[in-house]
Amino acid sequence: MRRRPLNQAVPKLKPSMTRLLILVISFCTAASVTLQPHVIQAEEQPPRRVLLLFDSLAIGTAREGNVEAMLRLLAVKGLQAKLQRVDEYREGQLAEYRGLVFMANNPKPDGSNARHLYAEDLLRYGLPYLHAGYDLPSAFAERLRLRTALSEAEQAQVTIGPLEGAPLGEAERMPYISDSQGTPYGSVAWPSSGKQAPFAVLEQGIAYAPVFVAGAASELAMAYMLKDWLGDSRTGSAHLLLKEIYPFTDLALLQATADALYDAGLPFIYSVRPVFANTDFPAMRRYLEVLKYAQSRNGTIFAEAPVVSGAAGIQTSPIKEKMAGFLNLLAESSIVPLGVGADAGLYLRNEGQFAEEGMAFFRSSALYPDSDAFYLEQAELNTTFPESMLCVRWDELEPYWKDRSSATLPVDVAMYADFFTDAAGMESALRRWKSDWIVFADFKKGRHLTRTEAYSLESSQGTLAINGSPIGLNDAVRAVSADYAYREEERKSLERLFTVQNYVYVTVICFSLIVFGVFLLIGVRLYRRKFMK
């Protein structure tokens, strides 16, 4: 586009000069394009604030964990959300939000004062409203012309997008939509009773999902409805993510897996644990070399949030520096971490401002569901990730993922698995990945940004750049010398004296050993002559 006017402006120049000028200008143009900072500006529009209320955590029921699942979904959608119990609602609170989600897990709600206040405000403010579980308030039910019934105590199965017949939680009696108007989302079936109903319905900002439970299928189904409820036009892709990767991981297997995935045409993400100490050790350098190699084999690197434990305590003050240090180290090794992987609980609890301190470098995240419920009663999501993925265990959804090439995903989905302990495990998984219907996308194709004070790390259209400069993907693993001074050499006193002494003693001892050797020969001869005749 820019060359045309330039070409038109040079007919008076000699052809050779023209070619030279074109060459120079082309070079300058190319250079300016290349060097121009590729920084992705944050969405100018501030994230929408949503209030998430619940009446019960449904502990011990099929719905247990669905509050956390909903909070995680809201985080995946990049929303700022506040979680609180409905009993703690204060009058007028709804005015502070642009959306309301209510998790009605209690089939028999009480009539507390806070709940009455909430009910009155709900009618007054008229916010976009999402209701999950029992008893949609009558005003909304009427607008949806909703009729519900209770299922038998049987495990429900959801079909939506590429999923077909994926189980929803435990067998329990649940309300379902027997009739309504509005857009239905997916279908829920109870096979033995033959009942079938929409998973959710949405009509003019009012959404109702009676059977929302924790679990990959339910969360993905909910994501379809949330996308429209939020008016989000974006669609998503599936990404293959391997986690539990450390410097102590079998590096040869890490490299072989990258090669195997590359050969199979499967882009992948390695989510790697951060390292804060001894990063100059040869073992760490070798680890970095393999990560860089994986990146060159169509891989993307995610940095995981550091593990914090109750025993160790959360070290709030240095975590930002430590995490920045690790990201800088990756950048200096030409590795571009495009997102953060973290256990959702760590992020949602946000103890010691962990999200702000340890995760604010990223715009993209993968929040892994926690294996153990942590019964969160209140939370405030302030640090958001506009480019996040919904994380589901690959083997949880894979059996129900059917060939539906036309089905788009409502969000980016990270289908994750732990990294393999041996080559056999890797080969077995690879066979399944090759044969199933899930199409994995290259995360680098999207626009992602990670930023420390020193580095701006980004991707766009499959190109990785550090501080605006595209990086060359060098696929050779450089050998790292094991010759390393693990401890800094101390300044030694009397070094010269000891060096000289050392030399003298070695000489004397060597000389003595020669003499002793001669004595030994004589001694053996004498011994034989004297005692062995």
Binding site: L494, V506, V508, F516, G517, L526
Partner: protein
């Protein structure tokens, strides 16, 4: 440089200097061995001098009879030597056994002196003094109660002494009779041989010095008379009297052809007691004779005093100090910055120890074996390290006795 650094430098200097001294001693000792091999056995000329053989014995019933019988069988004119057994305050059957033996050999010059807690029981020096009073030989020979001297042992000692007026004492060699009893006795066997061929033979070759070993030696009566007998306070009476003989201007010669076989401790406990007594006794001798270092008249024995001083004070304190510093350094309590020696040097030093010790074994029948080589290597990491504990405990006991003004207690080595 910190204080720890200075201490470490001194310690390292002492340790390595002693190592070099020992190299010289091994070489000198081996040259002496070759001299001896080239020289015929000493021969007695003229009338054999009368020799009083003294055997101090305290509760030695288990071993005394074979010892006296072997002394009776010595290849020396029967009428030219007497055997004086000082049965010193024994509570076992020694007296009866000796009386029976005496009656069986009534024609021989066998004297048994039985003492009780009043007249004796004050240790080896006192027993020797008692025996000396009864002796009439112009030469005095001493054997421990567990010894089995070879038949010609006394003859070689006397012949050597009589042919050189400058010799005050001639000492023989002692071997381990119970070498194969345990690993400990194997170590002791290696230790005694290497000590004799390094320290005794080496010092004789270089300085014409030896230390009386406590058994299998012969000395002139005139010397004992002049010295006024043995020092009853000394636990290492042999080392103590050696120094006094040096001061008189006499030399002490090592004659390895005279051999006696003795029984060595078979358990670590007994060994530890015996060696602690030696260490304590040697420390007494060092302290008593330190002024000799500064006397011109006694310059010939300076090496011996400095050598003993180095081993018991400098080497011991150096080893303990370097070990303490090492531990404290590992615990982060002290910080040393001095440079160290290379691993090659340390390895060479250990190889040198093994080869040097093995060379001294090639002098003896039945000792040139691969198993001995392994035992020397094993000895380095076990037996030699125990020496440090022995010497340290000996020093502690010596200064404790000095502080509380306690008399040194003589304890007898247990027999088997």
């Amino acid at each position: 440089m910190t204080i720890a650094d200075v201490l470490m430098v001194i310690a390292v200097f002492c340790i390595w200097t002693l190592l070099l001294v020992n190299i010289v001693l091994i070489i000198a000792g081996y040259l002496y061995y070759m001299d001896c091999e080239a020289t015929p056995e000493p021969v007695l000329s003229g009338e054999a001098p009368f020799v009083s053989i003294m055997v101090p014995a305290h509760n030695e019933g288990m071993v005394i009879i074979p010892t006296v019988e072997s002394l009776l069988a010595l290849d020396y004119p029967r009428d030219r030597y007497e055997i004086i057994v000082i049965n010193d305050n024994s509570s076992d059957q020694s007296a009866a056994l000796l009386a029976s033996l005496q009656s069986r050999h009534s024609e021989r010059n066998l004297i048994v002196i039985n003492t009780d807690a009043v007249t004796g029981g004050k240790g080896k020096s006192n027993a020797l003094n008692i025996g000396f009073e009864r002796s009439r030989g112009e030469l005095i020979a001493i054997y421990d109660a567990d010894n089995t001297p070879e038949r010609k042992a006394l003859r070689y000692l006397v012949a050597e002494l009589m042919r050189d007026e400058g010799l005050g004492v001639v000492i023989g060699k002692f071997r381990t009779r119970n070498r194969d009893a345990s690993l400990l006795t194997r170590f002791i066997n290696i230790e005694t041989l290497s000590f004799q061929w390094m320290a005794q033979a080496g010092r004789w070759k270089l300085f014409k010095l030896c230390t009386i070993p406590g058994t299998n030696f012969v000395m002139r009566r005139s010397i004992v008379t002049k010295l006024g007998g043995w020092d009853v306070k000394a636990l290492a009476e042999d080392t103590e009297i050696s120094f006094r003989i040096y001061q008189m201007g006499y030399r002490i010669k090592f004659q390895p052809k005279s051999v006696t076989w003795e029984q060595e401790p078979q358990t670590v406990k007994v060994w530890f007691k015996q060696r602690t007594r030696w260490a304590k006794g040697n420390i007494y001798v060092i302290v008593k004779n330190i002024p000799m270092i500064f006397r011109r008249r006694t310059k010939v024995v300076r090496f011996d005093i400095i050598y003993l001083l180095s081993i018991y004070f400098l080497l011991l304190t150096s080893l303990i100090m370097s070990d303490i510093l090492l531990v404290l350094h590992a615990m982060g309590l002290v910080h040393t910055t001095i440079a160290g020696f290379s691993s090659l040097l340390w390895t060479l030093a250990v190889v040198l120890f093994i080869v040097g010790t093995f060379i001294t074994l090639t002098t003896e029948k039945g000792e040139l074996s691969l198993s001995n080589l392994w035992q020397i290597a094993l000895m380095y990491v076990t037996y030699c390290q125990l020496w440090m504990a022995v010497a340290a405990y000996g020093m502690f006991a010596y200064f404790k006795d000095l502080l509380y003004k306690r008399e040194a207690k003589w304890y007898k080595t247990e027999r088997y």
